[in-house]
């Protein structure tokens, strides 16, 4: 559904920000992008809805070159919804409902249609009706995040791209939000792309992982393929999951053999039987 082919972009400190990136995202994927600050993750997601144009290479959405002649880039922004890290950079209206209606109104919906879309999106993310007429600035951090996601969902996108959605949230809010994303993907059939710093979150929720390092796509595969390459990840200053390290230690001690657990759930399933 989204395809990057040899995409390169920009220069900073004599290095390319992105260097010849090639990958494919399929319909219904839950993609996790990991990498250091400055590895090119943010640049990558800003290309998915055409905010940034690559210097060379092609980006295709449903087979069409998004920077090709006559391609409607404005409409692409409604089909590939990008949620940025800080909801404060997005919320501006006097009430929650009006803020969520902003995108739909820009699409050309009527007031009533936009209102319906906004209500639907807000109930999907779990914002109760009594908060619709509150100022978005009175909400808690987790609620603001949800409203900012609703603001994108109300445009009914086919892909939802999120830059570090759980950063700055507390443990409870974190888990809620990840569960919500899973629900949006499974029930509303929206493809999810998420930039994350947490290996655990990516291992738990994603089915496809991209690892960026210094502008290059270093690893691209299933969570199992990626997190079993701990040495490679460590070389980039990243790490594998805690569950993987536990199992590796136990394998060294000859207790488990060729175990493939990368999440705590899997590790528990395996270890419980041994005690």
């Amino acid at each position: 559904m989204i395809e990057f082919e040899n995409v390169s972009y920009g220069y900073e400190d004599n290095k390319k920000v992105l260097e010849s990136i090639t990958f494919k995202i399929e319909d219904g994927d839950f993609v996790g992008i990991i990498g250091h600050t400055g590895s090119g993750k943010s640049t990558l997601i800003q290309m998915m809805n055409g905010l940034l144009k690559p210097d060379s290479g092609t980006i295709r959405f449903r087979g069409e070159n998004i920077f090709g002649n006559g391609y409607n880039l404005r409409e692409l922004k409604f089909r590939v919804g990008v949620v940025f890290q800080y909801p404060d950079y997005q919320l501006f209206e006097t009430t929650v409902i009006k803020d969520v209606m902003y995108g739909p109104m820009n699409m050309g919906m009527t007031q009533n249609e936009a209102m319906d879309a906004a209500k639907q999106a807000l109930s999907l993310v779990g914002i109760s009706e009594d908060k619709f007429n509150k100022s978005p600035f009175e909400l808690s951090g987790g609620e603001k995040k949800k409203v900012s996601i609703a603001g994108i969902l109300a445009m009914n996108p086919e892909v939802l791209v999120l830059d570090e959605p759980v950063a700055g949230l507390e443990p409870e809010g974190r888990r809620n939000l990840l569960k919500l994303l899973e629900k949006i993907r499974n029930e509303n059939h929206i493809t999810i792309v998420m930039v994350s710093h947490s290996m655990e979150n990516v291992a738990d929720y994603c089915n496809h992982v991209l690892v960026m390092n210094e502008g290059k796509l270093e690893l691209n595969g299933t969570p199992e393929e990626v997190f079993r390459q701990a040495d490679k990840l460590e070389k980039m200053g990243l790490s594998s999951t805690v569950a993987y390290y536990i199992m590796r230690e136990l394998e060294k001690r000859g207790i488990v053999h060729d175990d493939r657990s990368i999440t705590m759930k899997e590790a528990y399933g395996c270890l419980e039987k041994l005690l």
């Binding site: 950063a167 805690v242 569950a243 230690e249 705590m264 528990y268 270890l271 419980e272």
Partner: protein, 292 residues
């Protein structure tokens, strides 16, 4: 005598309606008492709105008690006595959450000098203090740089240097790691721990991340303005229900150990690293084999 001693502290916030009229009040800090010894590494944990940041501001005399009292070095904090306040702010420095919003100077060294300049130290002495502080945080080579060119983690180190230049006894980190990526977060924690061990500076860490505080001497857990529990890391981490009530989460590995403890009572809890875990697992595993 304890370094900081808090007795029955209450801090009230007013609730206002849309027009700014006071419609009620609630206790952001509700009758808290605690003692902090000099040289300790203390962590205060809680969810947003638990009152932990409000409490932190009392240490630095940025806020004052509505009821109850605070002693710092056995001197009672009195909001009418400016000398005590300024002295306490020199003694107890504070690192805030947002790295950008606490750097005042347009260069790294200029920012580090801000504190000493405020209290009227002479120029030559400021230069010495600033150089020492920047060396301590390993940022001397960036002293002439604009803070805008630094990473989040480096900015927090500059903020710490600005406090070190005032020769403090204690540093309060008010969610200072929450906007950093995991790598810078670990590095900053390592550095703070070093300050605590080598320079004997008291560290008070305000956070909602339990993984960061496994090295602390003492933990305090807050909820709704009250102290839920306190104790050593091992003691507190085993109070699973209290932690849940406070909206916190113990590290996944510690949780796994607790789960396995329920499967086999011999499996010890309070485990924080994969090596520790594997060693314990090996021990219990072999024990079981031998019995069979």
């Amino acid at each position: 005598m304890p370094f900081i001693s808090i007795k029955n502290l209450v801090h009230q916030f007013h609730v206002r309606d849309m027009n700014g009229e006071i419609t009620g009040e609630y206790n952001a800090i509700d009758d808290i008492s605690m003692e902090i010894e000099e040289g300790q590494f203390i962590a205060i944990l809680g969810r947003n709105g638990s009152g932990k940041s409000t409490l932190a501001r009392h240490f630095n005399n940025l806020l004052f008690a509505d009821k109850g009292s605070i002693w710092i070095n056995d001197i009672l904090v009195n909001h009418e006595n400016e000398d005590i306040i300024w002295n306490n702010r020199k003694k107890i420095g504070m690192v805030f959450q947002n790295p950008d919003n606490q750097i005042i100077g347009t260069t790294v060294e200029e920012d580090t000098a801000f504190g000493p300049e405020n209290i009227g130290i002479e120029s030559e002495n400021i230069i010495t203090l600033v150089n020492e502080a920047l060396e301590a945080v390993k940022m001397k080579h960036k002293s002439k740089m604009s803070p805008n060119h630094l990473s989040g983690g480096q900015k927090q180190k500059v903020a710490i240097a600005g406090i070190l230049a005032l020769k403090p006894k204690c540093i309060v980190l008010d969610e200072a790691t929450s906007m950093l990526d995991p790598h810078s977060r670990k590095e900053l924690m390592k550095f703070v721990l070093e300050l605590n061990k080598k320079e004997k500076i008291t560290i008070i860490m305000i956070t909602h991340n339990m993984e960061e505080v496994v090295n602390a001497d003492k933990l305090f857990i807050m909820n709704k303005g009250k102290l839920l529990t306190h104790g050593s890391v091992n003691e507190v981490f085993n109070e699973v229900e209290t932690i849940k009530e406070a909206g916190l989460e113990i590290p996944e590995i510690t949780e796994l150990a607790i789960k396995l403890h329920h499967v086999n009572q011999n499996f010890r809890t309070g485990i924080f690293t994969p090596e520790e875990f594997a060693n314990e697992f090996e021990r219990v595993y072999n024990e079981k084999r031998n019995k069979e």
